[in-house]
Amino acid sequence: MILHVFYLNYNNMDIFIQAASQISTQEPLSEQWFDSPVFSEKILNESIDPDFKLYIPVMVARRMGKLMKRAIVTSVDVLKKCELTGDSLEAVITGTGLGCIENTEHFLNAVLDNDETCLQPTYFIQSTHNTISSQIALFIKCHGYNTTYSHRGTSFDACVLDAFVQMKLGMISNALVGGHDEMTPAYFTLLQKVGYWKDAPLTEESFHSANTAGSISGNASLAMVLTNKETFDALCKIKAVEMLYMPSIDEIKAKTNAILQANGMKLADVDAVVMGFSGDKDNDEVYKNIVLQITQNIPAMCYKHIFGESFCSSAYGVYVAATAIARKKVPAHLLYSSKDEIRNPRNILVYNHFHNIDHSIILLSCLD
């Protein structure tokens, strides 16, 4: 195999999201959220877990924290849908803003409370960010490419970029890409002190009109399989993945146009734009400006009102877009402003940003 293939940006090879599996505040390992979403009126939200022992042997699960179990279950579930095994899977790429923070807190508390004595290694071993990616590989025995991105609100986006680029370069033909984060009560408290969360819960009606600081916390456990082989049942194509650092609105506009042009499209061909509206005033302002300056009349979609905010919540942005394309509609509850559901969306742009520092733009399209 020739690995040195240069400057293949936007070559003809198509890349697909074959399938996805999620655990969140919605019904686990299910797309029930698409037709009947549950809106939580809490600020700190727990995920609804499936019966872990159906997927992980009890003895193995005992040594795993909740986040790890969710990562294993979503990964195993999506690989099964794609008929992939540890042997045929070529890459495990995980995004996580905080890693297994529950284990980190356990070990940190032990170090501080016991004054650096009488410590057990278990929580330390499972505290490193790459525990998730490596435990997945260990669980399914996959010796392929394995890495972990931990870059706040674009951790998942970097995973998609990595897989996309390696497929374009002919280095891999499939990848398990995941976004996994948990919010513990202690970390929630810390982030609350620096303005991450709302002081009081919101109602579904007031979520997008509150115009106050802070958002609603959620967890992220989302696994998807990307592949360069087309099958009739893939969710959608990934046409472009771009990341930007501290871009001006003009740079975002130029990048959007470049993406569309490279794919022979115009703005009018885009049926919807997914944005990470979280109810936080400053966060939402950035998206409102993108609508105002760039996407204008294209309907904006949202997802954090049902999945919550976390460092890997952007994974759900890609997921809702892919699901909407596959299910051939954008239901009204995913629309930010207009309330008329969209029929047969063919192309959806997914915008994400973290504190207006790191941005990403992903273009998804329907199968031919």
């Binding site: 040195h4 293939v5 240069f6 400057y7 293949l8 940006n9 540890g86 495990v92 803003g97 905080l98 890693g99 070990f107 940190l108 170090v111 501080l112 650096e116 004595t117 410590l119 057990q120 290694p121 330390f124 071993i125 505290s127 490193t128 960010h129 790459n130 525990t131 990616s133 490596s134 435990q135 590989a137 260990l138 996959c142 010796h143 392929g144 490419y145 394995n146 890495t147 972990t148 991105y149 931990s150 870059h151 706040r152 674009t154 951790s155 990595d162 680029v165 374009k168 370069l169 280095m171 408290t189 810390l190 982030l191 002190k193 620096v194 990341m243 930007l244 650092y245 460092f311 790191d358």
Partner: protein
């Protein structure tokens, strides 16, 4: 027009601030491992490779004049980034599209562990809360560059983070996303991971002895190192002098155990084989291996077995420079890539300190004395992390 070239480097570790000091320490056989001076811990019996500067001194070296607080991980990164930007002349002549990809795992933990009770109980040190995570540390480093990067991200694969940053950077250049990328890693010592490694009973209470039969474990170190990697086209356009080529790299997973490597070094073998395949080189072309060589019983035996599988009976000189710097964890892939290039440019092979007796199961011994006046065409550097995250890079003379 298809090479990934290295056009600049920056480094800071226990053996010095900057490339010149690093080379001098390596040539003089002067280890940076010693007693704990700066880290606030009760485990003063453990030798470490500390950077010999406190935070204020690091701020001065990095030119950090802001009154805003900053983590030690970010300060170390800023020192290394500054040197790399200067050598590659990036401040004066910017590559068209430029990425910054940094590896870290400890991130802001060294401040969080100091102030954790304050975080929970009062508002005295809230400014450090949002600096705890890995990405925040990268952002604090990335903002140093006034020309503004185009893509910034963070890799956290424990002790192979910096090597994996190089892999992503090279792939982004090949795919045409960027013309150049600054890749590597940064990590400061923390009470958190010193105690973590200590509970695993893999810390030597004396100076570490990589590849020695009686090795007792590793010494933790701290530091940062970045390489500027760039397309040939960009190198010509900017008219900068390339130092060497990043000719191959590979990443594989051992998928054996969360903290131990397989006896046969499965992941290590696959990573080295992938790197060789990409470079188009035969194993016999490699002139020196800068090994991961932590000094733990498990790593050195497993890595040694993997080297024997790949190189057969023609094993090139091998050394672990962790015997100089300590194990700089997430920065290690950067620190050791820079050391590998420095060895290539300055025609020497750094020795493996504290070695006396060969490991029974291995067919080779590491380099005991610094070898000078040696021409190195191709150097392999290995970085293996917890969870079997194994990566290998090959650097080649032009």
């Amino acid at each position: 027009m298809n090479k990934i070239l290295v056009t600049g480097m920056g480094i800071i570790s226990a053996i010095g601030v900057g490339k010149a000091a690093t080379v001098q320490s390596l040539l003089d056989g002067k280890s940076g491992i010693g007693s704990i001076k700066y880290l606030k811990t009760k485990h003063i019996e453990l030798p470490v490779g500390e950077v010999q500067c406190d935070d204020e001194e690091l701020k001065a070296i990095a030119g950090y004049t802001s009154s805003k607080p900053i983590t030690r991980t970010s300060l170390l990164g800023r020192v290394a980034l500054k040197e790399a930007l200067e050598e590659a002349n990036i401040n004066l002549c910017r590559p068209r599209k430029l990425a910054f990809i940094s590896g870290t795992t400890v991130g802001g933990m060294e401040k969080s562990e100091l102030y954790y009770h304050d975080f929970l109980n009062n508002d005295a040190h809230n400014e450090y809360i949002a600096m705890h995570d890995c990405g925040a540390c990268t952002d604090m480093i990335g903002k140093q560059y006034e020309g503004k990067f185009d893509i910034v991200t963070t890799i956290s694969t424990a002790c192979s983070s910096a090597a994996n940053a190089a892999i992503l950077g090279a792939n982004l250049i090949k795919a045409g996303y960027v013309d150049a990328a600054i890749v590597g890693g940064t990590e400061c010592l923390s009470k958190f991971h010193l105690n973590g490694f200590n509970t695993l009973m893999i810390l030597d209470k004396e100076e570490c002895k990589p590849f020695d039969k009686n090795r007792q474990g590793l010494n933790l170190g701290e530091g940062a190192a970045y390489l500027v990697i760039e397309s040939e086209e960009s190198v010509q356009r900017r008219n900068v002098k390339p130092l060497c080529e990043l000719s191959g790299y590979g990443n594989a997973c051992d998928a054996f155990h969360q903290t131990a490597s397989s006896a046969t070094g499965e992941g290590a073998c696959k990573a080295m084989a992938k790197a060789l395949e990409m470079s188009g080189l035969n194993s016999g072309d490699i002139d020196y291996i800068n090994a991961h060589g932590t000094g733990t019983g498990n790593n050195d035996e497993s890595e040694g077995a993997a080297i024997m599988r790949i190189f057969g009976d023609k094993i090139p000189p091998v050394s672990s420079t962790k015997s100089f710097t300590g194990h700089t964890t997430s920065a290690a892939g950067g620190v050791e890539s820079v050391i590998s290039v420095l060895a290539m440019i300055n025609d020497f092979i750094p020795n493996n300190l504290n070695f006396s007796e060969k490991i029974d199961s291995l067919s080779f011994s590491p380099v005991k004395e610094c070898i000078r006046n040696v021409k190195l065409s191709h150097v392999m550097t290995n970085s293996f992390g917890f969870g079997g995250n194994d990566s290998s890079c090959i650097l080649s003379k032009l």
